[in-house]
């Protein structure tokens, strides 16, 4: 049985938890009202004063916060403290338009580290572990959050960062890595490359993986566990409300939510109405302890279910289903968020290319594969083969610079991409067919 990081909280009664949540909700609403002008305006419009929040049900009177609210406030419009008080800033990629900026003061950073330590403990990470962090650092929250959280547990951190697979495999063998932090796709990729090099992963001390950045499907989990000889665990978070640390999978496969720090709701994505516990809907999160950037009722666009169960691990915190689908058209390809509109911007701003494109996502050799099909009409078509190939290359380069991924660009005949009456279907996601 894995040690529980904070047993007092993580095994508390539901009554005590709700008491704590209400107390923290009231102070968060008060903080947002007093210190964040856009929130005060919105709460005033909705007729919600901090004092009027008397029970957890009152949360439904508070208006939602959506992604564009954070974008519109770029860079520091939603912060409740002066920027000088921040000790860390992170941002999302924001390849089209402004990125989303988040910030942490010292107290927030301490909470974040605690939550990531909880995630580590959920996965069974202990001080004697050697953790190889094959996750992107830079402006994203993922690598940093897990780094400090697992370091707090006392594990030996190997901040390998993303890429450089040969070096990763060398360190894994030479440093005696016992825990891997990465996207599940990358874990599989490491397995493939390692196998081709003749590495016997089962002979290595590698025993657990903490995967994030994209959903770990059931079949991915199985394959990773078989090939690397480890326990594969999932964890969930989003930078808008913190980063990693919102929930993490215990050894029994249940994702426990840090509900003392995040008040969760599950709503009907169409109507915004709250759904009863256990029904699938859109996850909405309210921060309960963040002071630099309090966030009220953030619509995550992730579809899931949250419920209280009797988990054999002993934790009483609510458990959420792994997120498989989104309410909007965002795709997650190799751990990168991709909006079809970004791909459209990338290719269709090149002279002559019309808006008839199809993004085809599939899984090939354990990795997400991205193909973009473009129709070749009279404007695009050139008699010169080298011109056509140069065009293809230009489109691929443009897609890479906007989205950050390598796409295979395939030229197809006009009319071969299906036209629809209503909203154009720009995405063919063949990964769904496994029904996971």
């Amino acid at each position: 049985m894995c040690p529980i990081w904070n047993p007092e909280i993580e095994t508390t009664t539901q009554d005590r938890m709700q008491e704590l949540q209400l107390q923290r909700l009231r102070s968060t609403v008060a903080l947002a009202y007093d210190k964040v002008e856009p929130y005060r305006a919105r709460l005033d419009d909705a007729g919600v004063s901090p004092d009027s929040v008397r029970s957890l049900d009152d949360i439904t009177r508070i208006p939602f916060t959506v992604k564009t609210d954070l974008r519109d406030a770029y860079p520091f419009g939603l912060f409740a403290v002066p920027v000088d008080e921040l000790v860390r800033i992170h941002s999302s990629s924001g390849t089209t338009g402004k990125p989303t900026v988040v910030g942490y003061n010292r107290a927030d950073l301490d909470v974040w580290t605690e939550l990531c330590a909880r995630v580590g403990s959920l996965a069974g990470v202990v001080p004697s572990d050697r953790v190889q962090m094959a996750f992107l650092f830079g402006m994203f929250t993922g690598g940093w959050g897990m780094h400090y959280g697992l370091e707090r547990i006392g594990a030996t951190m190997i901040p390998a960062g993303a890429g450089n697979t040969d070096r990763q495999l060398m360190m894994m063998q030479d440093f005696g890595t016992t825990a891997l932090v990465s996207t599940p796709s990358y874990a599989l990729y490491l397995a493939e490359v390692g196998e081709s090099q003749g590495i016997d992963f089962h002979a290595l001390p590698l025993r657990v993986g903490l995967f994030g950045g994209e959903p770990t499907t059931a079949s991915l989990k199985r394959e990773i566990e078989e090939r690397l000889g480890i326990l594969a665990t999932d964890n969930y978070g989003l930078s808008e409300v913190m980063g990693p640390g919102v929930s993490g999978e215990c050894e029994y496969g249940n994702m426990h939510v840090a509900e003392d720090h995040f008040l969760w709701e599950v709503i009907d994505p169409e109507t915004g109405a709250p759904l009863p516990e256990g029904e699938q809907g859109e996850l909405v999160l309210t921060t309960l302890t963040k002071t630099a950037l309090p966030i009220l009722r953030y619509r995550t666009r992730d579809l899931t279910r949250v419920r209280h169960i009797d988990c054999p691990c002993g934790r009483t915190t609510a458990v959420m289903d792994k997120v498989r689908k989104r309410t909007d058209d965002m795709l997650i390809i190799r751990g990168v968020n991709v909006f079809p509109s970004q791909v459209e911007d990338a290719c269709c701003t090149i002279d002559g290319i019309r808006a008839h494109y199809l993004i085809v996502v599939d899984r090939k050799g354990g990795m997400d594969d991205l193909e973009v099909r473009l129709e070749v009409d009279d404007n695009v078509f050139s008699d010169s083969m080298s011109d056509m190939e140069a065009l293809r290359k230009r489109v691929a380069e443009r897609i890479h610079s906007v989205v950050g991924l390598n796409a295979r660009v395939v030229l197809v005949e006009p009319g071969s991409i299906e036209r629809t009456q209503g909203k154009a279907k720009h995405v063919l996601d063949l990964r769904d067919r496994d029904g996971e």
């Binding site: 070749v376 009279d378 695009v380 078509f381 008699d383 056509m388 190939e389 030229l411 197809v412 006009p414």
Partner: protein
């Protein structure tokens, strides 16, 4: 008039080239020569025809992506070294050839960047430049297998 070459974009799908040649055949259009350039996903088929404008319209209507490019057609002497001598003249005149392919009989087609410049460079040289009209009005040849006419 300059020889008008049709380039057709063909996706690498079975039957696509024959669909195209069907359209031409049904309209009674004669192919004087062709060349195929291909990658794994698609190919460019270049055609010299007796009625290039009609063909362009028909293929377009049938959903093909078509481009018309002026090219230079030359008549070769049918002797060993014939092609070499012609190409020698062309490149000797400083003309860079994008691609070459042969047509029926003794004709070849070359594509160059600057047609007018190329033609003026070739003036007075021992090569015969051929017009679209000549290719349009050629008598049909008899093929060797004797399968009807």
């Amino acid at each position: 008039m300059d020889v008008q070459q049709l380039s057709v974009f063909i996706e690498n799908k079975a039957g696509r080239i024959s669909e195209m040649t069907d359209v031409l055949g049904q309209a009674g259009i004669q192919i004087r020569g062709f060349s195929v350039s291909d990658t794994t996903d698609y190919g460019i088929v270049r055609l010299i025809l007796d009625r290039p404008e009609d063909a362009a319209e028909l293929l377009s209507d049938a959903g093909f992506t078509v481009k018309v490019t002026p090219v230079i057609a030359l008549d070769l002497p049918d002797i060993p070294g014939g092609l070499a001598s012609v190409l020698g003249v062309v490149s000797g005149a400083g003309v860079n050839i994008e691609y070459v392919y042969s047509l029926i009989g003794t004709y070849v087609v070359i594509n160059v960047h600057d047609i007018d410049r190329a033609k003026s460079l070739l003036e007075g040289k021992p090569v015969r430049i051929v017009s679209q009209e000549e290719l349009s009005t050629l008598e049909p040849l008899h093929s060797h297998h004797g399968l009807g006419s």
